[in-house]
């Protein structure tokens, strides 16, 4: 399990493979329910954004399914562990199937990189499982010589549909 923790890249700019490895390892942490480790992958000002409309550009004055800073993400993670969190008794589990991420942009001088990853995601609880499909866009930043997520944006192909509970992170 421990080898799923993303490796600290060297001082040299991360290779394309290092960026890809980061995205794959990040999804694996979620699938393994290692949410505290996952949260540490965000920068201090990091955000997790799940738009409500295709191609959405505004997270402030347009509704989103999620637009969370690290404090709100921590609330979710702490809640998932709570003894009185009845919607997680029994707990949900999830599974990511990723297409190989592509590096969409890189600015080695600023230490800023963008990747795009098509995915299928299954969230399951009790006898039910729900399939979601979409694209994850990672904005990655070098902080203390390690890659961190400044933004993880999750665009579902049917983001404007009516949904039942989504309790985990895609």
């Amino acid at each position: 399990m421990s080898d799923a923790t993303p490796k600290q890249p060297a001082a040299a700019p991360p290779s394309q493979q290092a960026l890809i490895d980061f995205v794959v390892a990040e999804a694996r942490l979620l699938d393994e329910g290692r949410f505290d480790d996952w949260l540490r992958l965000f920068t201090e000002d990091g955000r997790y954004w799940m738009p409500l409309t295709p191609g959405q550009t505004d997270a402030r004055l347009q509704a989103s399914l999620m637009f969370e800073d690290t404090m709100l993400l921590k609330v979710r993670i702490e809640r998932l562990k709570g003894a009185r969190t009845f919607s997680q008794q029994p707990a949900s589990r999830c599974h990511h199937l990723l297409q190989t991420p592509t590096v969409e942009s890189r600015d080695d001088a600023a230490g800023l990189f963008t990747t795009r990853t098509a995915f299928h995601f299954v969230e399951t609880r009790r006898d039910e499982q729900t399939l979601y499909a979409g694209w994850a866009t990672h904005t990655l930043k070098i902080v203390d010589q390690a890659l961190r997520m400044q933004m993880k944006r999750v665009d579902l192909v049917n983001c404007d549909a009516a949904f039942g509970n989504m309790q985990l992170f895609m």
């Binding site: 509704a63 999620m66 800073d69 404090m71 009185r84 969190t85 009845f86 919607s87 009516a162 949904f163």
Partner: protein, 465 residues
């Protein structure tokens, strides 16, 4: 899923009435398919049901298609000079707005898809090209000569004296909110809502321009439970500190770990009041109007202590004068239930619709409004509230839905037949309206179900057994 013994509910109004006792209701109200079908035919036809908002159809020819109960309808803003011109609003509302059944008079095809759109100066059925003016009247039929005149008459005069698309029974646009009554006969709008309209007034008055616009996008959240569980929950003030300990309680706990001096985030300000103690909810009070309408948060509420928004007070004072602006903003109403199936939060500019799909299935739509002329930060707060509390991704929503689904499952138990609504029941409450009480009283829930029994049976005739 109807009662295993007895006559069933159709054509038996007494059996329906017997489901609602003074302080408890029968489980069939929530789990019976037959009761649900009768709700669609009677309850949602006899009551005034919210359809949409005038700002969703700003221009002539704009439409918004949705459902009222299980009925597909369309709000359309009439194209002037085309047809009879007058909408079917029966009062002093917006006369250019029509509400029509979204069903071609020919083969029954849905004319326009659900949601907002623009139809131009007429509707054209996509199947055979029959056209209708935006007041619903028939415009043209291709190859008209080939139709037998007598049978065509039936299509032209489908289900009303007005030829063309069927109209709903009555429409009222109240300060931009479009309501309809499907049945042509029934209670007048003003008699139905009475003093409860003050919550809509207050929400509109919070705009310095006196105007609201639907804004931000709608949250659509599927619930596997009966729609009335959501209605009951709106004035259930004994659940937040228990069911939401996991979400709001955790938010408070996480916030308490922040370094001293960290400014309180907006999200914490929105979450924290959910886990206020019982005494807070008792003190905030509930007001009960007539016909199942009522609200929590008479003297105080979970929305009362939000931070001021820079520039807002000045805009309000300039628009209304300080005294009136103070009165408008001093209103702390929490949840206002407009029976049967919407809830409005004035101080946070949201409107939720509990759309019935089946006895055990409900689509919850949570709409947000921009206060025209107010700072954007208010819309931002409204959207954050909606995201944190009403979205399919909301932890507060997860808490509630788990309880509704467990109820929907366990009400099938034959161990007990009745759902208790007895908290602070007083036999003297029957017939009282426009009164206030302890904030944890279940009187409002009881009143909703009394209204339910009345409007269910109002248009029902007792059949032969």
């Amino acid at each position: 899923m109807s009662r295993s013994s007895g006559p069933g509910y159709r054509d038996h109004p007494q059996a329906i009435q017997a489901l609602v006792r003074a302080a408890e209701v029968h489980r069939d109200c929530y789990i019976s398919d037959e009761v649900f079908a009768l709700e669609m035919e009677h309850l949602f036809a006899n009551t005034w049901v919210y359809v949409g908002h005038a700002s969703q159809v700003p221009q002539a020819g704009d439409f918004y298609a949705t459902t009222v109960g299980d009925q597909p309808v369309v709000i359309v803003r009439h194209v002037a000079g085309n047809g009879n011109g007058n909408g079917n609003d029966d009062g002093d509302g917006d006369a250019s707005i029509h509400v029509l059944h979204n069903r071609c008079a020919h083969k029954g095809v849905q004319l326009v898809p659900e949601g907002c759109g623009h139809t131009g100066s007429f509707f054209r059925c996509p199947y055979h090209g029959w056209t209708y003016r935006t007041d619903g009247s028939l415009l043209n039929i291709p190859l008209r000569d080939g139709y037998n005149a007598d049978t065509l008459k039936q299509c032209e005069a489908h289900s009303s004296a007005q030829p063309g698309l069927a109209r709903v029974g009555a429409v009222k646009v109240y300060r931009g909110f479009v309501f309809c009554r499907l049945n042509a006969q029934g209670m007048a709008f003003e008699d139905y809502f009475g003093e409860s309209l003050s919550t809509l007034d207050n929400m509109v008055d919070r705009s310095p321009a006196g105007r609201l616009e639907v804004a931000g996008g709608v949250m659509r959240y599927l619930h596997r439970c009966n729609w009335k569980m959501l209605v009951d929950n709106q004035t259930d003030t004994c659940h937040p500190m228990v069911a939401h300990q996991s979400s709001a309680g955790t938010a408070v706990r996480v916030w308490e770990q922040a370094p001293v001096g960290t400014p309180k985030p907006m999200a914490v300000e929105l979450f924290a009041p959910f886990v206020s103690p019982y005494s807070f909810f008792e003190g905030m009070g509930i007001r009960i109007w007539q016909n199942g309408h009522g609200h929590t948060g008479v003297a105080d509420s979970i929305h009362a202590a939000y931070s001021p928004v820079p520039g807002y007070w000045d805009a309000m004072a300039a628009a209304y004068g300080e005294e009136r602006a103070k009165r408008i903003l001093g209103e702390t109403r929490h949840n206002t239930v407009y029976f049967p199936n919407i809830m409005v939060k004035g101080p946070i500019q949201t409107l939720r619709i509990f759309k019935p799909i089946a006895a055990d299935r409900t689509l919850v739509e949570s709409w947000t409004f921009r206060l025209v002329g107010a700072p954007d930060l208010l819309l931002e707060r409204t959207l954050m509230y909606n995201r944190l509390v009403n979205a399919p991704t909301s932890v507060v929503g997860h808490d509630d839905l788990e309880m509704y689904e467990r109820a929907q499952t366990a009400l099938h138990s034959r161990g007990l037949q009745w759902v208790n609504m007895a908290r602070l029941y007083d036999p003297a409450e029957h017939g009282q309206t426009n009164t206030t009480t302890n904030g944890t009283n279940e009187w409002q829930m009881r009143e909703q179900m009394r209204a339910w029994a009345r409007f269910m049976t109002q248009s029902m005739s007792a059949g032969a057994t």
